[in-house]
């Protein structure tokens, strides 16, 4: 990984490092050459790591006091909120932390989409990222069930029932998932177990995500390959550490505002009513971060096709490195893609909005158009754009903005016109 061999100065350090090269790893992480033109959209990787660790630590404490039993779960959450020392703080951080986590991950994903960070040679980083995102959604959904409020119970019922759309074995799978013939205590206990497990899977994948990142190094706003280390890079420490730290603190201010002043605004009031299998809430809505996919699910009249559409909407992202045929990474040099990018952002926001609305009338029509456009963007617009778009000239390096470069430095170097 490292360009130069690292040798610890102290004898003990050398003895240890020869047996387990942890110091070499630490040295690699601090020296890691990072493009110096990274903007603040690149700080969300660090912010996401913070979010994950916050969720794990607060979750651990909550699990010490929480009781995963259909008759006691709701009461145990109230016990945490009232009697556990600073239990209210820990729970509000955990509940709002989920929203903050998703806010950050959406910015992180859309940053990647804008600057083409998913393109060669970073496809594996991207695909691991998509798996992390899927696991995050699973963890968030399972976690939302644990307080055993009305929205927990009915959300769990709606989502697990989606599996019944699978032909022949669907009903059997649903019974198997529930551990019975309805969402009940066995469902709650297994959801708790899985909710506890998934964050550690995510943690492992995050390590792979970062490892895969450290092979080619970071992409950057102008999307060109950067020779490293060079005038175009700075060592990770202290430059990126302090910049990520500054951005993280800004993020924490927003986070703290939600936790201390509007801790329940992102949740649904019905979840403070204990689960009641006999009373269905007027509207069953998922948390805000799942709404775009909920809209896609409901926009398809057939249940099975709806589930397929919803899953495809996420899985299609994994194929993105091959659907986007453009050789230029950054949208900065792709005037047309830039327009389509913002249309996609608006499209997803519209999907989120109609996802919160009843699936009828105009809302349903909008949801259908927006769903169709979502797939159109990935399946038609992106592949064609790569061939048709007239891109603007790309600089050769970050420090010396010579125009006419290519995303691949190696090929540029071979061209005579750029020699000298």
């Amino acid at each position: 990984m490292s360009e130069h061999e690292y040798i610890p100065k102290s004898k003990v350090g050398k003895w240890f490092n020869d047996r387990l090269p942890l110091l070499t790893l630490a040295n690699h992480l601090t020296d890691y050459p990072t493009p110096k033109n990274l903007n603040y959209w690149w700080t969300f990787g660090g912010i996401l790591t913070f979010c994950l660790i916050t969720q794990i630590v607060t979750g651990l404490v909550l699990a010490m006091h929480y009781i995963a039993h259909a008759d006691m779960a709701f009461g145990s959450v109230e016990h945490i909120m009232r009697d556990v020392n600073y239990g209210w703080l820990i729970r509000y951080i955990h509940a709002n932390g989920a929203s903050m986590f998703f806010l950050a991950v959406y910015i992180h994903i859309f940053r990647s989409l804008f600057y083409g960070s998913y393109k060669s040679p970073r496809e594996i980083i991207w695909i691991i990222g998509i798996i992390i995102y899927l696991l995050m959604m699973a963890a968030a959904f399972l976690g939302y069930v644990l307080p055993w409020g009305q929205m927990s119970f009915w959300g769990a019922t709606v989502i697990t029932n989606l599996f019944s759309a699978i032909p022949l074995v669907g009903e059997g799978i649903v019974t198997w998932l529930w551990g019975g013939y309805s969402v009940d205590n066995p469902t709650l206990t297994r959801f708790f177990t899985l909710h506890y497990l998934i964050p550690f899977l995510i943690l492992g994948l995050v390590v792979l995500h970062i490892w895969a990142l450290h092979v080619p190094g970071n992409n950057n706003p102008i999307g060109i390959d950067v020779k490293k280390p060079s005038k175009d890079t700075v060592p990770f420490h202290p430059y990126i550490v302090i910049k990520d730290g500054f951005a993280l603190l800004m993020f924490m201010i927003v986070f703290a505002f939600f936790v201390f002043y509007t801790p329940n605004i992102l949740g649904h009031a019905d979840n403070y009513i204990e689960a009641n299998p006999l009373v269905t809430p007027a509207h069953i809505v998922p948390e805000w971060y799942l709404l775009p996919f909920y809209a896609i699910l409901r926009s398809v009249p057939d249940k099975l096709l709806g589930v397929i559409a919803m899953l495809s909407a996420i899985l299609i992202l994994a194929a993105l490195p091959w659907l986007d045929t453009s050789k230029i990474r950054s949208a900065v040099f792709r005037p047309l893609y830039k327009q389509f990018y913002w249309i996609l952002v608006a499209d997803v926001l519209i999907l989120g909005y109609v996802g919160a609305m009843p699936a009828e009338g105009l809302y349903l029509l909008i949801a259908r158009i927006a769903t169709a456009y979502y797939f159109l963007h990935f399946l038609v617009v992106l592949p064609i754009l790569g061939f048709k778009e007239r891109t603007t000239p790309v600089p050769l390096s970050i420090t010396e903005p010579i125009l006419g470069g290519s995303p691949n430095l190696a090929t540029v170097k071979n061209k005579d016109s750029f020699k000298g």
Binding site: K36, W88, I107, F246, F260, Y261, P263, L349, Y353
Partner: protein, 259 residues
């Protein structure tokens, strides 16, 4: 920076959508000045004590408060009754305890450590006594309703004669703030219903406000601590962020790039 403002605009648009989507079905609630709103909001002690009195004398005959203990009435940030007062309140209730050495359940006066005594043995008994409707537990009721404390405050004053064309079954009442306008709880508050020990005039509005304040506290017993701690945390974060910002500027000044 232009891009940043564009994206933050979109995020705010989205949050705005979210809030308006929640607000879409809401009616305008009655407004009043809550002492606990805002970053420095605190409960009005006297209002909490009066609110407890209204709960006790009016609501508690049907509505349970099962996550609250008598000891909570003494705790800081709440009504802050004296220990003697709270002990006397607890002792005025009979609590079922046991089994004793003979294996019998027995009744004894309540203690501070007891949860508030429930009006009914169980949900079925509550329904049977209330024409099939279950009077919801009131501990977190404020957080369990979309309109929050304003909704409770308005609902208590929202009873009126049904508009022409709306027919009501026996035991169903018309309330303009209730979801669907039909409610199984009759109008509970009337002028001078309780006699406040502090001499406050017990108007319907006053009682509604006091009991809503009390319910806000039962739902969020640590609200005052939360507000205080939040202010400190955010001030601390802003100072630290400023320091880190200048350190960052200094470190990056070695590189010819803007941060």
């Amino acid at each position: 920076m232009k891009k940043f403002s564009r994206i933050s605009f979109l995020i705010f648009l989205f949050i705005g959508f979210q809030l308006s989507s929640n607000a879409a079905e809401k009616v305008e609630y009655l407004k009043t000045d809550w002492s606990f709103k805002g970053p420095f909001g605190k409960f009005d002690r006297a209002a909490l004590q009066r609110g407890y009195q209204v709960y006790q004398e009016v609501c508690s005959s049907c509505h349970s408060m099962k996550y609250l203990s008598y000891r909570n009435l003494v705790e800081k940030g709440g009504p802050e009754f004296s220990v003697e007062q709270a002990k006397a309140i607890a002792a005025s209730f009979e609590v079922k305890d046991g089994p004793n050495a003979d294996g019998e359940m027995f009744m004894r006066p309540g203690r501070l450590s007891d949860k508030l005594v429930m009006p009914y043995e169980n949900e079925k008994a509550a329904q049977a006594a209330n024409g099939g409707a279950y009077p919801p537990d009131m501990t977190v009721l404020v957080k369990a309703r979309g309109g929050g404390v304003d909704y409770i405050y308005s609902l208590l004053q929202g009873y009126e004669d049904p508009p022409i064309g709306v027919s009501l079954d026996d035991g169903v009442y018309y309330n303009k703030y209730m979801y669907g306008n039909k409610i199984k709880m009759s109008n509970q508050l009337s002028e001078g219903l309780v006699e406040y020990s502090d001499g406050t005039n017990a108007s319907v509005e006053q009682m509604a406000k006091d009991v809503s304040t009390f319910l806000m506290w039962t739902a969020e017993p640590h609200l005052e601590t939360r507000h205080r701690m939040g202010f400190k945390a955010i001030v601390y974060l802003i100072i630290l962020t400023t320091l880190v910002y200048f350190s960052m500027k200094r470190i990056w000044s070695r590189v010819k790039t803007d941060v």
